[in-house]
Assembly symmetry: D2
Homo-oligomer: 151 residues x 4
């Protein structure tokens, strides 16, 4: 990934404002941990309500945070007032999401005027050790002339 330059110097606050409006992120307990130009990291602590039947995080939780991490990685390069939509994403679940929390990282692979391609990764953190449990490839769309329509 080449170095990416944000159009909006206030990109960090722009991302966090949008994230704060997504009720589902608060509902599951997800938080934005870090924003850089073309990069976003989201954390999700373990909760008994987010599991499948063996005590691992549900794939729905994994996909929710990594889709958002990739989406906000793209959004960080947009202008204030632009909207952002997930066109599609593809997720491989590579290990059980077994941990005290999940860390989802999204980064822009190819920025574009209309479409932005990102890659993502989810780490399960258990007893201080990180293990990759999912990898993603995603296409985001910039919507001009409408405020943020992410999600």
């Amino acid at each position: 990934m080449s170095k990416l330059t944000p159009i909006n110097a206030d990109f960090d606050a722009m991302v966090r404002r949008s994230f704060a409006k997504q009720s589902m992120m608060a509902f599951i307990g997800a938080e934005v941990a870090e924003v850089r130009p073309g990069f976003c990291e989201i954390h999700l602590p373990h909760r008994d309500e987010l599991l499948q039947q063996h005590g691992f995080f549900h794939a729905g939780a994994t996909s929710a945070i990594v889709d958002s991490a990739g989406g906000y990685a793209a959004f960080s390069l947009f202008e204030e007032g632009d909207g952002v939509l997930t066109v599609e994403f593809k997720l491989n679940l590579t290990a059980p999401a077994d941990g005290d929390r999940l860390i989802a990282r999204g980064e822009v692979v190819k920025p574009g005027n209309t479409l932005t391609v990102t890659r993502g990764e989810v780490l399960a953190v258990k007893d201080g050790r990180e293990k990759t449990c999912a990898v993603m490839q995603q296409t985001m769309m910039r919507i001009v002339g409408r405020p943020d329509v992410s999600g």
Copy 2:
């Protein structure tokens, strides 16, 4: 899709028992509406906690139920005692998930001894009218000798 024959005559109860163990499905309010051999339909009523910033369902909710619908479509053809894992899925979001509830349908395209390929669709129901808001293509894996490890 050719007609699919379940190995386990009790496939409907097998699917519902597994679904009931997934805390996240109960947490978001998802319910199994129908199970047939190689087919599963899951419903998700509108809740204020499942949205993004414009009042549409969050992509995380959409992907959670369609991944499960495809997974249980595959699982319906397995034997009692088999486990099931999502290998990967790819989701296109084709319209805003704007509605009173979502309906996710998964069906088996190609059953297999180890891998099963499914397709899925999500409909947003608003004022009694259905509109497709997402389509999915998915790979599931059967795990022999371990009880259901879905999710």
Copy 3:
């Protein structure tokens, strides 16, 4: 799939003209068999140059024709003078591509002003019997103001 209406009444010739300009399709021996609004079927006869080591069609041949079938399904709904680009596609190979020829079918799932989502299928025909060997989900982009840039 709801019934799709072409903007260009001459869509069949528009698709075939574009296809004829793709040297790779001629090189491998692929032919357009049928065009309907939002649908395209491409045939590929068996050739010793298109195989992997067991006499089956190479995945590169399979993906080349089904990407084109989906792309021209989308293109059939465009205006004369529009360009078309593959944004991305995802292909599951569900059985060996073992046959006298391959038949790739693409159809539009969701037409759009900018993005069009399609699904595709590849059948291997052997001794007169068809068997699905691949399924695809694809995103195409319409480019306004530039002639066809497909491929």
Copy 4:
């Protein structure tokens, strides 16, 4: 990607022998440039027969070599006598494949006993400058007890 250890010390020759049996790779002019444990690079020089209508490489050529690069990255970690199958791949085309040649690189993200997940990238080289034109995410399957069935 953690460091990957090949089971077969002769992995380089094993990959090249399998590649040499794929008639389609020779037909389009693709060559294996480099093999490392969990990594494979394939080159494809420009030929007039591999293009779409604007002089860029056809997406079928791009996908053929990156699918093979990812597949042989996985295969490099297998035992002599194992077979290898592409389960599925997802490809984003991020720029026109405009160049004197294409370079496809595949690398293993998550090795596994049955399934191996890889990522791939295609660079278009023009006048000595490289530009990414495609990124891929792929699932490969190891087949035990049958010789290489790749492709």
